[in-house]
């Protein structure tokens, strides 16, 4: 199997804040790597370094064996091969959905508009948004926007897709509609690096899990190992922070409904 991404001993600091220390990863074609870790451990920074939004201080990053880090000149050529979707809804508000989708393939890749449009329509339909091509992003819900953002990234036909907590800003009921699209992409063999706080989704989608803490890779294991018998103490503690005692509804039947009613 071909290795698509290699991250070799990279380091990155902001001023005196060492955010990444000697991080190494590699990823084969068609595989999904999930990165988890406590807030502020450097997950976003890692993804941003991979697609050149941040410059690394040391180490190197290779895409299909070619060094892509350390250059500033033709970053856009590298980014054309690396799709990225962020946590914030980042569609272009002054363009209709279809124009959002066409911009990259047509302007950056120079592909014929009609060909891309047909493909865009197919993909919109696949994520359940066939009727939204002509609307402006502000009329969409958060979940719909993230699905469009996924389609926009996929239309670039990237070698690899980076997803940075793409459901973190969503209302809970919209999370699964977005994650289902990602699961679908994974089944189709899309190579991805995914940062997420949704542990059940992480377990379902990952071929491998990397646990990052203080900018170091603390543990690296297949999901069935990482989530059920983590090898390191730190990973254990991290996973425990996601367990919470279920509410004792039976004990206080009134309290819960009152709370729901007063919610805005």
């Amino acid at each position: 199997m071909d290795t698509i991404l290699q991250v070799r001993h990279i380091g990155k600091a902001f001023e005196h804040n060492q955010v990444l220390r000697d991080v190494s990863l590699e990823l084969d074609e068609g595989r999904v790597l999930v990165v988890v870790g406590p807030s502020g451990c450097g997950k976003s920074t890692l993804l941003r370094c991979i697609n050149g939004l941040e410059q690394i201080d040391s180490g190197e990053i290779l895409l299909r064996g070619e060094v892509i880090s350390g250059q500033r000149k033709n970053l856009h050529l590298v980014r054309q091969k690396i799709g990225m979707v962020f946590q914030s809804y980042d569609l272009f508000p002054h363009m209709r959905v279809m124009d959002n989708l066409l911009l990259g393939p047509v302007k950056a890749l120079g592909r014929p508009k009609e060909e891309v449009r047909a493909e865009a329509e197919r993909m919109l339909a696949r994520v359940g948004l066939a009727d939204k091509a002509g609307v402006y992003p502000r009329t969409l819900s958060g979940g719909q926007r993230q699905r469009v953002a996924l389609v926009r990234a996929m239309l670039m036909q990237p070698e690899i897709l980076l997803l940075d907590e793409i459901t973190a800003a969503l209302d809970p009921e919209m999370v699964s509609e977005v994650l289902n699209v990602v699961l679908d992409l994974a089944r189709d063999g899309m190579t991805m690096v995914i940062v997420t706080h949704e542990m059940r989704f992480a377990e379902a989608v990952a071929d491998e899990v990397v646990f990052l803490e203080d900018g170091c890779v603390v543990e690296r294991n297949p999901p069935e190992v990482f989530f059920h018998r983590p090898e390191t103490e730190r990973a254990k503690r991290f996973l425990q922070s996601f367990d919470y005692a279920p509410r004792r509804r039976a004990a206080q039947p009134g309290a819960n409904t009152a709370e729901e009613q007063s919610a805005p």
């Binding site: 697609n51 939004l53 970053l75 856009h76 050529l77 980014r79 054309q80 091969k81 690396i82 799709g83 990225m84 962020f86 914030s88 980042d90 569609l91 272009f92 508000p93 002054h94 911009l103 990259g104 302007k107 950056a108 890749l109 953002a149 926009r152 990234a153 670039m156």
Partner: protein
Amino acid sequence: MQDSGVSILFKGINFQRLLGGLWVTLRIALITIGLSLALGLVFGLIMLSRRKVLRGISRAWLEIVRFMPQLVLLYMVYFGFARLFGWDLDGETSAVLVFTFWGTAEMGDLVRGAVSSIPPHQRESAEAIGLTPMQVCRHVLIPQTVRRLLPQAINLSTRIIKTTALVKMINVTEVLKVGQQIISQFYRLREAPFWVYLTIFILYFIICWPISALAGWLEKRWA
């Protein structure tokens, strides 16, 4: 025939004279607006500069221009500078200089505001789909800046048009001055000032209202 009320406006060429005065006002305003918008774009970029010194200087300029009553500036240039340096500035030129000095600063601040109100993620997500820096500006940043800027720039234009009424104070025969001349021509008529000023008011309204409405419409459309 006894002169009365609104009819004095239509005696002889009085109304044409008022319109002529209005044209003087508008001419000053239009030149000022053109210069202010163009120079303001440049000034706005200076305000956004990475260099602290440039940002500091431009900020200071804006503050000074805002504190200073335009009339004082106008007097300073027309009466002060002309004497001091022996310049032979006519009223219109002085007015254009002073109002451009002010309009450029205000326009610059609008540009600065519009550019910095675009979330940084817009640039990043445009970069993330592989656009070149030029394409990012052209397709993502500039269109959004223009949408925020244009309604405000139009509002600034109406403010400039209104402010040009001040040139009467430096002996430019604009619409107010003509109005006063007409009033003194009918000094025996008690209601003359009312009708003359009402007419001037309506003339200003006819010019400024559609412009304002356009700004409002654009703002809503692009919200």
